[in-house]
Structure formats: structure tokens, C-alpha cells
Amino acid sequence: MVELRGRSAFGEGIEDIAGTRLAIRFLSPIPAIVLTARTLRAAEFAAVENATGVPLPGAPNTVNGNQRRWLWWGPEEWLLLDNDQLDGVAERLSRALGDAPHIITPLGSALASITLIGEAGRDVLARGCSLDLRLDCFPIGSCARTLLEHVPVTIHRRGPGVFELLVDASIARFTAGWLWQAAREFL
């Protein structure tokens, strides 16, 4: 039988860039699971941590974990990411949550990730995002769902000059093209 091969949401010709003041890395798809659950109790928080290895962030707009990470994604909504794989995690999560009303949505290839590394990252994002991303207002470990030049994105600050953007696969190519244009002078 033929084997169907997946495609990058960024399409042809989009490759990692390493400039002097900014590097951009593209990752598609990024393994991701969305958990939507009503008012979780402490025991369920613990169960989720057991199942995934990372505790759920309780505070809005914060992130726990690093390689594997939970992002607070909205009221009663969390996003689990792992640059490598999330094999079997959805099943473990489902068992952990038992009867609590919840939906576990393995996003499959619905998300693409773009990481900006370098001092110019904030300047580039400022060209399309109205949020105050100064370090004291948006510290490391913050995340926000917002708009970047009309594109719905999730921004996660992973370091002083490291921003990860998560965008829908259908709009990843547009976003990459916009970033390339916005970052031109730093590349």
C-alpha cells in the first residue's frame, strides 16, 4: 500500500533563518493536545501532572514546563506542546480525568510553531502585535492568544529574547511570509 506523506504547513521554500540579530525556526506540525475541562479539582490537577509530567498552570496567561509544556489557553482550556512527540499522552490524560467533563483534542497537524531567537524578536513582533511585550510586562513563561497582523496567534515567551508563535496550519504560510518581510532588516 502507498504511504501518504505529510506536508509542512509552511509549504515550499520556508526554511530556518539565522541572521545576526535574529534567528527564526519553523516547525510543522508541532505535536499538540488541547484539554478543555470544567472546574478541575486539586486531585484532577495532580492526575494531569502525573499523566503528562508537567503541572497544569493555574494562572491565566502562564506556561509550565519547557520541552514538554502546558500553556494556559483560555478559561478552562489548556494547550500541551512537545517538540518531539506526544504519543499515548491523550489516552493517559483521558484515563486520568475519568468522569470530569472534558474534551481531549489531539490537534494532530493543526498547529505550526515559529520561534524567534535574538534581540530583535520583540521589535519584529511589535510590527504586528499590539501587546506590550517588554520583559517586565510579559516575563519569561508568559503566553497570550492575540493577533499578529490580523492572524490569530499564541505568543509564548521562552526567554528574554525567545518568542514562540503558534499559528493555525492553514495560515502558517502567510504568517511566515509576513515575518520574513517584517524581520528583513534584522536577517
Binding site: 500500500m1 501518504l4 510543522s28 474534551i103 497582523e149 493555525d168 502567510f174 511570509g177 517584517a182
Partner: protein
Amino acid sequence: MRQRFRLGTGGLIDRTKKLRFCFDGKRCEGYFGDTLASALLANGVNLVGRSFKYHRPRGVLGNGAEEANALVQLEIGAATEPNLKATQIELYDGLVATSQNCWPSLRCDVGALADRFSSLMPAGFYYKTFLWPAWSWFEPAVRRAAGLGRAPAEPDPACYESRFDHTDVLIVGAGPTGLAATEAALQGGRSVLLVDDRAELGATLGDCNEGQVRARLLASIERARNGAELNLLTRTTAIALYDHKMAALVERLTDHHGPQVDGPRQRLRLVRAETIVLATGAIERPLLFPNNDRPGIMLASASLAYRYRFAVMPARKVVVHTGHDSAYETAFALASAGATCTIVDLRKTVTPGLLDRARAAEIEVVQNSVVSDTHGRHGLRRVWIESLGGGRRRRLNCDLLAMSGGWTPSVHLHSQAGGRLRYETSIGAFIPGSPVPSVLCAGALRGLWGVESCVADGAMAGESAARRDVERPAGSTVAVSYSPVGIVPSWRGHRARKVWVDFQNDVTVADVQLAASEGLLSIEHVKRYTTLGMAVDQGKTANINGTAVLAEATHREIEAVGTTGFRPPYVPTTIGTFAGIARGDLYRPRRLLPAHPYHVAHGARLSDYGGWQRPDCYPVGGESNHAAARREALAVRNEVGLFDASPLGKIVVAGPDAPEFVGRIYANSMRSLQPGRLRYGLMLNEEGIIIDDGVLTRLAPDRYLIGTSSGGAARITDWLEFWRQCEWRHLRIVLASQTTTWATVTLAGPRAAEVLAALGTDIDLSSFPHLSFKDGHVTGVPARVARVSFTGEASYEISVPWSLGCAMWEHALQVGATLGITPVGVDAWMMLRIEKGFLHVGSDTDGETTPDDIGWGRAVRARTDDFIGRRSLQRAVCLRGERLELVGVEPLDLDLALVPGAHLLEAGTSAPRSSGFITSACDSPSLRRWVGLARVRNGRSRLGEVLRTEDFGRSGRVRLVEPHFYDREGARLHG
């Protein structure tokens, strides 16, 4: 041309850098640091342009954004820009500028005849031609004559960008006030963004020879800087101040180097600040006297700036006409440079010290007097003055008249932010009245005058900003330490037709008086009627005088007349700056289908559908788009078609109360829907209007997949979240959007099952009824297959992970090749659904359509439980009949094309009363005739009747029929 009028020494120009430029084909020279206006004056060019309406010769009035006369067309070709103020164009080598609104030449302009006939073109001339004799006679001529410069015909070759900024304190204006405020805010440890529209900080201090004050203030900012963040933006104009302390700034990055420079030309900055200090200063007011618009009549402050900053002395004999102390400095400065000066002061009494200084400088001061006329065709030659107390006229020869009626605070941004204004009689100016929270006004903007009082007020404002005060402390009132005159109605008793109020729009005192006599009392109406305060300068010099004239003509106080609204932008802004990099492919976000690479590679015609780039059709071998769509539609009816349905919205709802939730959001009952099955449903809003339709899948007893239309995915997700989060908190459910988790390719047609089998699947296709789904694998990848149809043919929607969508699409085409598979676009898809009479929300429904209107009344009325919109369906308007009901239409006349939007009229009558309209139509390739859907008043009870269609003069007869044209029994659907 030599710089005949440049002083031998002095000025803040760099005489080692000589710049060449060209004005109206004449070669001229200037220096680095010049503006186009100062360089023209240095070269003896006093006549710079022609006025808008009467083509009067005009020169330079001011030295900044207030300029009303010296508008030029800069550069040529694609980079050309019209209506730029020569006073704001920084000179660069090779600059090319041309005068505007004149033909054949600036000095000899045919249009100047208009001035002779000005009495035939009074205020509101344009509107009066609407009434009599006939607008159509005048329109072509008025349109041709209107406007000043020419817009470029080619696309703008420059590039632009925009960005958002955040700061603790934004200070607008780097004059003495802004600089002092910056120092104080920095000392308070706040981050500061200081912006000024000039090329350097403290430029206005340089204009009036206060370089030492400037150096002192800049040095203290340097000291205060210590650690605190300070961003300085020069050549940056704050064009707007919006709610929530957001300011829009336009930064001119390369304009001062000319058009052929790499990098972005301008940058739009949207700044949010915790506190905003407005130190926007004031603009000098012209005086009103007959023929006050000649070249050589200039604002006193501008003359001062040309003398000190640019070392330009465009005159030997000067008359300074004033009602304010400030113009005396101009007289002293010009006298010190060798000019013979006479001061004509409107006031009876003048600050004594000034008279002594004038005497010492051998300057004659004529008090309580007014200029009553001027003379000189292309430049000022002489003026007549007369005493306000009545006395004989006296002639003064002069080549420059510097005038000052006092100062008008630049309240624009304060007003834009919602601040009210108050008229201060003592200085004859509107100043900020009610404060705007966290927007602090300081300096000349508050009516203060004099460098030191502005420095002191700026420092206080800066301290307030550092303390995060939301308003300036009370008690700081306007201290007037001099004797300004307010606004003297010096225009009285003169030929009002020749007294210009608005130089740019050629509005005279007579025009305002005429408007008042015709009953226009509101200053806003007078603005529209006379064009007072319109166009490029928006009345920066004209508005206050216009208000005063209107007040006098209508016997009211100036405060009662008020001002027109101040709206952004403060200065004209080129449209590219707002576009930024959002041009071409980046114009707006485009969502791409997973199989987009295939669609592009195979020549699909792509269109935008709700933000998605989707194929309309796949033309092959030079066929037309329409032919391609017909071929594709026939392939679905006869063999099998493949359609990319990936954008269909997919929202999962789960939880013990999920059945209750879906019951409430659909108008038709979902109660009997069993797990594994699908059902079509209608969603209504609270008004009972259809907002979306789609297919609901019951995945499990407590889990559903809500399918929405492609364009509705995001909207319906938000709609459902609203009900879950805000209205029905008690329902134990959760929602998750999965639209782009799954790519969906749809096989439709009699051979669809064969293709699916050939793709290789572990799903049992033998017992797979219409409106059911199965999970399994297709071609070895996890897939959900649903039997649901938009075409009337047996269909299989195959959903696979998004990244595999393109591979699945290409594989299906390969496998299906021998079975006649054809890729199908949206155009054919629409033809197929019209043939079946399937509804398309948005085409066949609008903001008034209820379920009953489309024939779903019985299904909805049968419900005994509640759902969104149910109560509204009981409104009288829904029950009383006379509704537009969905029916089919077919033409009775040969060759009659049905056009969506065409009205349906009663046949046999000439009364143009519409009974409804066609909503969708196609020339059906399967039926070989036109078929359409229409909404007709009481349509369902009128089936069989014949109506007349009317479409821009093309008419024909149509019959109302049931809205099903193809396979009415649905046999093919289940095949």
C-alpha cells in the same frame, strides 16, 4: 540662481553643504538645513503657488505645518506627491518641485481670470448649482478645476512600515515645554518617548534665537537620562490621539534624503502610554485686512524663523502688523539685520519696555492702527494704514508684511482625545477646558506665552507625569503678563470680498457673512458651505478668525460659536503609511487549504471565501471558467468528483449535558439522533433568524461534532462559547474547535464508493447508509468517513489529519483516474446544490429569514422544548403572512438567463412592485436549462404562477415551482 536674500552670516544652516534643487524648471541653490520654503525665499522666489478657487498669486505664509499657501508638487513620476507644504519639505540635493494650480505658468495663469469673476462664485456656489440652473452644466468644469496637485498614476514605489510601541510617558512636542517636561519625567524614573515633527529637538527655540535655552534644556535631559529609558523621535508627527491613551505617530525616515533611498520611507507608530503630556504649542494667527493674501505677507513668527534659523531676509522694507507683543521681536530681529521697519499695532497701549526698545532700534510704532489695503501683483509693494479711531490713510512702501493677531493653541490632540475647549477672552483663543484623564496639557497649548513660562509649566507637567497624576493640579491658571488684544474685528467697513480668512480654500470674510445671512449658524455648517478650514491645513490659521467673523455676523460671542471638531490626522498622511507592509501578498491573511499546492499547480482559479483561498474551478486545455464548472458538475452526476471541503467548521461538544446543549442551539430537534448518525440542522439567533446551517454528528452518547458552514467556523465557535461561558454556566459541557485538525476531501457521485474502496479502507462500505459515519483507516491513515451530501449524489466525506490532506487528495485522484474522477471547485458545487434546491445560508437567506420562510416551519413548530430564537418566532411579523418564502423558479422564455438579485414582478401589470427576488440560479448542465431559487412573498401558495423578472432592462417570464429540480425523491443520495 544666487541666494540673493541670504544673510552673509548666521543661521542654523550648514553653509559648507550646498544643495541644488529645481523649482518650476528653475535651478536654485540652498544649504543643508534649509526647507524648500526658506531656500526659495533665499533665492528671491516669493511667488510659490496659486490659490485654490480664484488662482490668486500666493507666497509663503508660515514656517511649519500651519502653512496654507506654499503648497507644491514634489518630485515627478511614480514618487510624486501633491499638496506638500514647502515649509515642511527639508531640502535635499536634486530636489524637484513644481507649483500647483496654474496654467500655463505660475506667473501667467489663465485661471486667474476667476479672480475677476469672484462675485459670480460666492460661498456655496457649488451647492447652489444643484438648485439652478442645472448641476450638469457646471459639474464637469467644477470637477476639472477642483483640487490642487496631481495624484501619481503609478503605484507608490516607496515602502512603509508600522509598529506598536509602549512607554510610561509620551511627550508630544519638543519645544521648551516638552523638553522641560522630559527632564522632569526622567528625573521621576519614568521611561519617556519624546516626539517632535521637526528635524531636531527644540527646533522652535532655534527659530527665535533662543539657542542658549535649547542647549541648557538638552544638557539637563542628558543629565536626567541616567538610567531611565528615553526614546527621541524627531521628524515624527503625532497625527492622532485616540481613546485609552493611544497615539498615532508618523515617523518620516527618509523623506529628507529624497525619494531614491533604500529602506522604509515612513513608519506609523501606534503608541500606548500610561501618561501623555501634550506640549503642542501654538500657531500664530493671521490678521484680517483687505488683500491680506499677497506674496510677501507672512506670519511674524515665520519671518523671525527665516531670519534666525535660515539667515534669510526676503525684504528691505518691512511693516510689522500686530496685536501681540511677540511680533515686536520680529521687528527687532529684522531691523538688526538691516531692514527698515514700521510697526502698526492694533492696540492703543503697548507694553512700555517694548516702545523703548523700538525707539532705540529706530523703529516707528503706529498705535491703534490697522492695515487697510495692500498692493503688488506678484509680490508686496506697498500697504495703506489708517487709524482705528478714524483718520487719514497713509501709504507705506514695503516688500514684507509680518503679521501677528496673537496665538492659537494647538488643541487638536486634546480635542481628539475627547477634551473640551474653553474660550479665553483675554488672549482671544480656545484653550483646553475639561481635562482628559492622564492627558496633561502644558505650555503654549494652555495659552501661556514666553519661553521661561513654558519651561516652568513643562517642568510641572513632567513632574505630574512622573507622579502618574491623571490631571494637572488645580490652581495653575493662565497667567497673562502681557497685553494681547484678542480678536479685533479689523475687517469691519472694508471690502469684505477681498479679506481672506482661509487662504488655502479662498474663503473671504464676505463668504462667511453670506453663509450667516443665508441662515447657517453652526460653525460646522459654515465649514461645509464655505469650505472654511477644509483641505490640507484644516484651518490651522483660519478657523479661529472664521469663528470670530461668524460670531460678529450673527451677534454672538465667540465662545457660543465654538470650533469645528478636530479629527485625525493632524496633518495629511500618505495612505502607504497606514498600509505599512500589508501590500500585495500580505494585504490580508489568506488561509490555505491543505491541498493548496495541488490546486495552484493544476491551474485552479482561486477566490477568497471567508478568508480561505478556494478553487472556483479547474479549467483545462484553455476552456473557460464556466465551461470548466459545467464539466465538473456533470462529472459528479455521471461519475465521481473530488471536492476539497477542509474549511468546514468542526466543533466538538462533550459532557453530560451535551444533548441538552445541542438541543438548544439547533432549531430542529436533535433528540432522536443516535450515536453514529448525522442530521442536518439550522441555527438561529435570538431574533429567530437563520445564522448558519450544517450537519451535526453524534460521536457518542455525550459527544457531538457540530459542523458549520466554511465561512461560519470562527463566528459560530465564538457564538457557542458565548452561550456556554455567559448564559448557560450550569450546563456541564466543554467545547473544542477542531476545524484545522482534520482535512476533508469529499468523494461525490455514482462511483464515489468505488474510489473509496480503491483507496483501501478497513471501513465496511456495504452497510453504510446516508447520514452516518464510521471511524477507521483510509490508505493506512486514521480517517473518519461520513456520508453526507451537498450535491444530491452519494457522497463520502473523508477526514484525515491536516498535514496529510494534500497527499490524500493527490492519491485519490491517482486511484480514481480509471473511474473518471474529476477535481471539482466551488462553482460546480454551487450548481449541483441549486439543482437539488439545497439552501446556502447567506445566498438564499438574509437577515430576515426564519425557518418557516424556507419551508422548515413544521419541524420547528413541532418542538415542545426550548431553543435559541424560539420565542422570537412568535412575533407578529413572523406570523402574519406576507413573508418572503423560498421557492424554485424556471424560465418560460427561451434564452432567458436567471440572474441572482433580479426582481420578480407581477406579470401583466406595469406596476413596478416587487414580489420577491431570485437568490441563486444556474444554467444546469444536467437539466440543460436554467433553474433558480427565489424568495417570493407568499411564494409557497403561489406555485405555478407566472411572474416577470426584471434585471436592468432585461425582462422575461418565469414560473414558480417547488424548489427541487433534480432527483426529487433522493434516490441517488442513498445509492
